[in-house]
């Protein structure tokens, strides 16, 4: 492919393709975006300021970030995806729940 064509393609719209560990590679329109996967919720009796931070405040990374996607129109697994918020390139996909991850691994 010529350099110019690569350049044009990188500037045009792109469909994100997510490799679901259970169903295989699908268009992102089958999935629902969840949100930031790095959030850790504090203990139930933690002070209000900690809960405020967990619920309302985001790092909002410009670059690779961990995020959740739900395969709504597929196997309905929640997935943890590492994706660039600049190029939309996906680095890794795995099931959120560690025990389900074991099953999907044994399947492949």
């Amino acid at each position: 492919m010529s350099g110019a064509l690569v350049l044009i393609q990188s500037c045009t719209v792109d469909m994100i393709r997510i490799k679901c560990p259970y169903c295989g590679e699908r268009d992102h329109s089958e999935f629902t975006y969840g949100g930031d996967a790095s959030i850790k919720y504090p203990a139930l009796d933690a002070p209000e300021s900690e809960w405020t931070k967990a619920i309302f405040f985001r790092e909002n990374i410009r670059g690779m970030q961990k995020e959740t996607w739900h395969h709504t129109n597929g196997c309905r697994l929640w997935l943890e995806v590492e994706r660039s918020t600049i190029t939309h390139e996906i680095k890794s996909v795995k099931a959120c729940h560690p025990q389900i991850e074991k099953i999907t691994k044994s399947k492949s």
């Binding site: 719209v13 792109d14 975006y33 949100g35 985001r58 790092e59 410009r62 918020t85 600049i86």
Partner: protein, 421 residues
């Protein structure tokens, strides 16, 4: 700077319109400014203009990483309205609409503000009740608002789908004083007016670092050198988090999402109003530009992104919504579509507030509604920077509102930024 008036247009007509001055200067950055506004979009330029005009401030610079009009100022669907109902919001947006009404005279620049009415369709008795509630609240606060029944709507906009729509159109909530304006004119107008009051507009000047002491900013590292500032205002919608972290301030109640807009080939006059359609999963707003193009938009692309380009499923969704209410658009050709990166805040409302640093002020979180808000945004942000006291209309538009439980959530969608469309 030459003023625009009939005599000057006539005079310059004799010399082929070649002797007009520059619209704004292209100065070299000074070593130090009293006030630096980061972000040369509508909000940043309006802020600089009102600082100079209302508060008589001197020695102001606006830093823009690209060129004036190249960011979200050139990526919106140009709609201006004030149909908000929560305290703070309705005063703020009504003030903004009033500023729009006089903006062309204020700036001596034709911003082509056209009060063609904002017509928001409803499709069920429940939606009608909801619209009646919101629009009655608007009337109580002195904003114009009315409900159109189906006959009135048909008379005003005859070519909507009144025949076989999946969700039959039952009427519309209308704000007659709303409409749209020309986005380029607004941003150029503010740049020119601010410049004529002595504001330095520094283009191609990206902030690359923030040098700070314990509780204030000392200077900004930029692509055009180090610049010191006594006060700094951030107005960089879309990239607020990036700059905030550059200043070492941690997280914000903001996510960056992208919103697409579309423009078609020009057609003869077809639509005299701004029409909004929202039911179930659909969200669609359309108007016709002065050139004849249909300008419209839909929902966010649903996932977080800093890329200024949109995805295809949303093109399809928006096209489906267009066909659902205006089937006559079926054969029209799309010329361009693009995306802008926006601060989506955790409750759908904006921030004009002080920050943990004593000389840093924040203007951010404009969600879908930054364009219409820009005159008031500049007005109140300038007021905050000059007086150090938040005006009573924006006293809750700060970063502490979440911890206090006084979220300003017009839509009642909860703490998920992508839902505040």
């Amino acid at each position: 700077m030459t003023r625009f008036n009939a005599w000057n247009v006539f005079k310059n007509g004799f010399t082929g319109q070649k002797n007009w001055d520059r619209q704004w200067r292209d100065p070299e950055p000074k070593k130090q400014y009293d006030i630096i506004i980061v972000g040369g979009g509508l909000h940043g330029l309006a802020t600089a203009y009102y600082l100079a005009k209302n508060h008589n401030k001197k020695n102001i610079a606006v830093l823009e990483k690209g060129w004036i009009g190249g960011g979200n100022a050139g990526r919106n669907t140009t709609i201006v309205r004030s149909n908000y109902m929560l305290p703070g919001n309705h005063e703020f947006y009504e003030h903004s609409l009033k500023l729009w009404e006089n903006l062309s005279h204020e700036l001596n620049y034709n911003v082509m503000f056209s009060q063609r009415a904002h017509v928001s369709l409803f499709h069920s008795p429940g939606a009608k009740d909801g619209a009646a509630r919101r629009y009655n609240i608007m009337r109580l606060y002195g904003t114009d608002a009315e409900l159109w029944d189906l006959d009135t709507l048909k008379k005003n906009i005859p070519h909507l789908n009144y025949y076989d729509a999946r969700f039959p159109i039952m009427g519309a909530a209308v704000q007659r004083r709303a409409g749209n304006a020309r986005h380029d004119s607004a941003v150029w107008g503010y740049a020119r007016a601010a410049d004529s009051l002595g504001v330095d507009i520094l283009q191609n000047c990206e902030v690359t670092g923030v040098k700070r002491s314990q509780n204030n900013i000392e200077s900004l590292e930029t692509s055009r050198g180090t610049i010191k500032a006594k006060k700094v205002g951030f107005a960089v919608a879309g990239h607020t988090s990036v700059l905030w972290q550059m200043a070492g301030l941690g997280n914000l109640p903001i996510e960056s999402h992208k919103l697409q807009a579309f423009v078609t080939e020009s057609v003869k006059p077809l639509l005299d109003h701004v029409v909004v359609y929202g039911v179930g999963g659909a969200h669609f707003y359309i108007s016709q530009s002065d050139k004849g193009s249909m300008v419209f938009g839909g929902d966010l692309d649903w996932y977080k992104s800093y890329a200024q380009r949109g995805n295809l499923p949303m093109v399809q969704d928006t096209a489906e919504a267009a066909m659902a209410i205006m089937p006559c658009l079926g054969r029209i050709r799309l010329l361009r579509h693009w995306a802008g990166v926006m601060d989506m805040s955790m409750d759908g409302s904006f921030f004009i507030c002080k920050t943990p640093l004593s000389n840093l002020y924040l203007n951010a979180g404009w969600n879908y509604g930054g364009f219409k808000a820009s005159p008031a945004s500049g007005w109140y942000f300038a007021d905050l920077i000059a007086s150090e006291q938040p005006h009573k209309h924006i006293q809750n538009h700060n970063l502490e509102r979440f911890e206090k439980g006084i979220n300003i959530d017009e839509r009642g969608a909860g703490p998920d930024p992508k839902l505040h469309g």
